[in-house]
Symmetry: C2
Subunit: 446 residues, 2 copies
C-alpha cells in the first residue's frame, strides 16, 4: 500500500529517459505552496518525518521489479538499474510545526536528477496532507484556547492513511489527542473515547445504558446524552451519578452531539450544577469547525472540550493546497517554469524571518547562501541519503508548533486573517530575469 510503486507512471518514464541520456547531474527541487486557500493566513509545516522515512527506505525489491516487468512497459536494463536505486541526496526543510507562507519552500531536495525526480509524487502526497491538516487544526487551537480538542475524524477521513496521519498532524498542531486507536498506538498520541448512540439505543432505557456502561468501563466515564432528549438525559445523569459514586465510580463528562450545542450546554451545565455535579465536564461534537469554536469561546459557552471530525480530517473548507514540487536548478544552472499563473522563482532559496517585540514581523525569500536579517527557516535534515541526528519526537515538534503559534502576529491569529509580508529579494528577481533570457535564447535557435 505504501510501497515504492505508489507513484505516477510518468516518474518511471522520465527516469528511463534520464538514464538513457545519462542526465544524472545534481538537481534541486523545492516544495512550496503557490497561494494560500481563502481564509488561511498561514500554513503549518507537517509531514517531514514521513518524507524522511520514505527517502531513507526507498528501494525496489524483487516483488516490485517483478510487477514492473509483468506490466511490460520497461526494459531489462531499466529494471536492473531500478533494483539498485537508492536515494543518496540531501534534504533541507522547515522543522515540523514551523509557520510558513505562499512561495516559501518547505523542503528542498538536492540529489542526482533521477532520484530527486522519482520521489516527487509520494513526497508531495505526504507533505501536502499533513500540512493541510496541521494548518486547519492550528486554526481550531487558536479558536478554542484552554479547551480540550480531540480528533474524532477517522470515519470520514479519506482512507486509512489519512485517518492516521490526520491524527498525527492535529496533535502536532496542538490537539490533545485522537479517538483513532491505531494512531494512538503508532504515534504515541493520547487516545480518547466515549460511546455511540447505538449503545443507548440497544438498551431498553437510557438510564440502564448509562449505568451499564459506567460499571463496565469505570475509568473516565463519558456519557452521550443526546440520543432522545438532551436535558432529560442530563437529569437522568444527576440521578445515576450518586448511585455510581456510592460504588466508587465517577462520571467524568457528558457529551452533546446534535442540535444547538451552545444552548444545550448552558441548560445541561445548569442541571448538573444544581445537583452539585460541578466536576462533570461537558464535551461537544457534531460537525464542528473553527468558526463554531470561536463563537463558543466568544460567548463563554460552558463546554470544556470538543471532538472534531470531518471538518478537521478533510480540511473541509479547503481540502487541498495549491502546492508544487518544482525543479529550481540542474547541473549548476538555475531553472524556471514560465507557465501562465504558475511561474516559479529559480534557484536554491532560503527564507529569512524577522521578529519584532517577540512576534513575526516579515519574511524575506532570498537566494540560498548570503545571510540576511533575521534567522533562516530551512535547516539541514538529511545528507547523502542519511538523516542528520535522530528523528525529533512528535512531542518536540508539538512544542515547536506551540512556540510558533505563540509568535504569530495578532492579525494572523484571527479566523479572517490579514496578509503577512513576504518580500522577494532583488537577487532572486535578477536571477529570474537571467533565466528568462537564457530560455528565450535557447528556444529560438531550433
Amino acid at each position: 500500500m505504501e510501497g515504492p510503486l505508489l507513484t505516477d507512471l510518468y516518474q518511471f518514464s522520465m527516469l528511463d529517459a534520464y538514464w538513457a541520456q545519462d542526465m544524472t547531474e545534481t538537481a534541486v527541487f523545492e516544495f512550496f505552496v503557490r497561494r494560500l486557500p481563502a481564509r488561511r493566513g498561514f500554513l503549518m509545516a507537517a509531514g517531514l518525518e514521513q518524507v524522511i522515512d520514505y527517502l531513507e527506505t526507498l528501494c525496489f525489491g524483487a516483488e516490485e521489479i517483478g510487477q514492473l516487468r509483468r506490466c511490460g512497459r520497461f526494459g531489462d536494463d531499466f529494471l536492473d538499474r531500478l533494483a539498485a536505486f537508492r536515494f543518496t541526496g540531501d534534504v533541507d526543510a522547515l522543522p515540523e510545526g514551523t509557520i510558513f507562507f505562499a512561495d516559501e519552500p518547505a523542503i528542498r531536495v538536492t540529489a542526482p536528477l533521477p532520484q530527486a525526480q522519482l520521489v516527487e509524487s509520494r513526497l508531495v502526497n505526504l507533505l501536502h496532507f499533513q500540512t493541510l491538516v496541521a494548518s486547519k487544526a492550528a486554526r481550531m487551537v487558536l479558536a478554542a484556547p484552554g479547551k480540550q480538542l480531540v480528533d474524532f475524524g477517522m470515519r470520514r477521513a479519506h482512507g486509512a492513511e489519512a485517518a492516521l496521519l490526520a491524527a498525527r498532524a492535529c496533535y502536532l498542531a496542538g490537539f490533545d489527542g485522537t479517538a483513532t486507536l491505531a494512531a494512538g498506538i503508532r504515534f504515541d498520541i493520547p487516545v480518547f473515547g466515549t460511546m455511540a448512540h447505538s449503545f443507548i439505543q440497544a438498551h431498553d432505557s437510557e438510564a440502564e445504558a448509562f449505568e451499564h456502561f459506567a460499571r463496565a468501563r469505570p475509568q473516565g466515564v463519558t456519557l452521550l446524552i443526546d440520543t432522545y432528549d438532551t436535558e432529560r438525559a442530563a437529569e437522568l445523569v444527576t440521578r445515576v451519578a450518586p448511585r455510581l459514586k456510592a460504588d466508587g465510580i465517577a462520571i467524568q463528562a457528558v457529551r452533546l452531539d446534535s442540535g444547538d450545542l451552545g444552548g444545550h450546554a448552558r441548560k445541561v451545565r445548569a442541571i448538573l450544577d444544581a445537583a452539585g455535579l460541578h466536576e462533570i465536564s461537558i464535551f461537544a461534537s457534531g460537525g464542528l469547525d473553527e468558526d463554531q469554536l470561536a463563537a463558543f469561546t466568544r460567548d463563554q459557552v460552558p463546554i470544556d472540550g470538543y471532538g472534531i471530525g470531518t471538518c478537521l480530517t478533510t480540511s473541509y473548507d479547503a481540502p487541498a493546497l495549491d502546492c508544487a514540487y518544482k525543479l529550481q536548478e540542474y547541473g549548476g544552472v538555475p531553472r524556471r517554469k514560465q507557465s501562465e499563473g504558475k511561474a516559479t522563482w529559480p534557484g536554491r532559496k532560503q527564507v529569512w524571518r524577522r521578529l519584532r517585540d517577540g512576534r513575526m514581523a516579515g519574511d524575506l525569500l532570498a537566494q540560498h547562501g548570503a545571510p540576511h536579517r533575521g534567522y533562516p527557516l530551512l535547516r539541514p535534515v538529511m545528507r547523502d541519503g542519511r538523516r542528520i541526528g535522530g528523528a525529533p519526537s512528535l512531542d518536540t515538534a508539538r512544542e515547536h508548533a506551540s512556540a510558533e503559534l505563540g509568535i504569530l502576529p495578532v492579525s494572523l491569529k484571527a479566523l479572517l486573517p490579514t496578509s503577512y509580508p513576504v518580500e522577494v529579494d532583488m537577487s532572486l528577481k535578477l536571477l529570474a530575469a537571467e533565466c528568462d533570457q537564457r530560455i528565450a535564447e535557447r528556444n529560438c535557435t531550433l
Copy 2:
C-alpha cells in the same frame, strides 16, 4: 496500517460493555447518507468490495492483542475474547455502481451486536470515501461524453490509500484509467502517463527535451507543451514530428496544463492541423472540475482527453458526505435515534425503484419484507460471514455503473440537478411512531 486496530477507541469500550452484559443478540445496522451535498443530484455506491474483504478477514492476531494489552485499557478476559473474534454476520447492499439518494441504505449489516458495532468505523471509512469519489467522478463522466478521462490526483489525495481507492472509484464510475502506477497494478486499471515540466526544464531547450523523451519512450508519446510558451511549443512539435516519424516514432498527443486551456487548445489544434498532424490529439490538465469539462463540451473545444487531479480525488467542492451507520433493530425490536436533525427511520429497510420509459422514475423506502412496485436495490452479499458467490470484477461493476448512468432521469444528469422523488412508505412512518412511543414509556419510568 489497515490493521484491525484502525478503529475508534469507543468501539472496544462498547464491545467490552456488551460482552460484560452478554448483549449479543442480533443487531441490524444500516449505512446511509443523511442529505446530499449541494449540487449533487445523486450518489454512486462504491467501496463495497473493500468492506467485504475487511469483514471476511477481520481478526486480532497476537501482535494486536499485545498492543492492546500494553496500552493497559483492557482486561485479560476481554482480550481473550477479542482474540477469538470473527465476523459471522450477514450483509445486504447496493451493488457497486448503483445510483442512490439520501436516507436510502447502501449497506445493511445483520450480526450479533458486538460484531455489527465493532466494524462501524472502518466500514464507514471505506464506503464513505469511494462513494464520495465515484459520485464526483460520475459528474465528470456525464460532463465530458466521449472524452478520455484519467485520474491525475495521487499527489494531493489524502494519503496512500486515498490515492489508490480514488483511482479505483473513478474507474468504476467511468474514467478510462489512472496515472497512479500502484493502483493500476493492484486493481488492473489502465495506467497513463506523460512527463513533468521538470523534464523540459532540465534540458537546455524544449526541442531537445521533446526528442529525447520520444526516443527514450517511443510508445504513446505525449509531450507537455506549456512550460514556456504553449503555441511556440506546438510549432516546435510540428518540426520535431517529421524527424521522429522518419524513425518510426509517432507523437500521440500534446498536453496543456496551464492558462486558458480552451483558447490554447484551439490555437494548438490549428497549428497541428496546418502541419497535417491531425492524428496528434490534445490532452488537458490543471485544476479541472466538471464545470470546466461541461463548458468545454458545450463550446466544442478541441480537447480529446482530460487529466483530472485534485478536484476528483479530494471531491474538492464537497470533500465529505453526511453519512451514518445506525442501529435500526436489536433483539427483534426496531430502534430509532431521535437526536435533533439526525433522527433515523427504524427497522430493516429496502429500497424499491420504479422505471418509466427506461429511466428512473422514483424510489420507495419501505420496511424490508413485503414487495412493492419496481425492483429492490439491496441484494444479499454475505451470509454467516462468507461472501455469496465470487467477488464481481471491477469491470463488471463499471458496466453496472455505466448502465445506471444510462437510466438517470435527464434532470439528474445536469450539473445543477433537480431533486429525485424518494417516498417513505406509510408502514415505516407508523413504525417510527411506535418506536417513539416505546422510547417515551421506557424512559419515563426511571
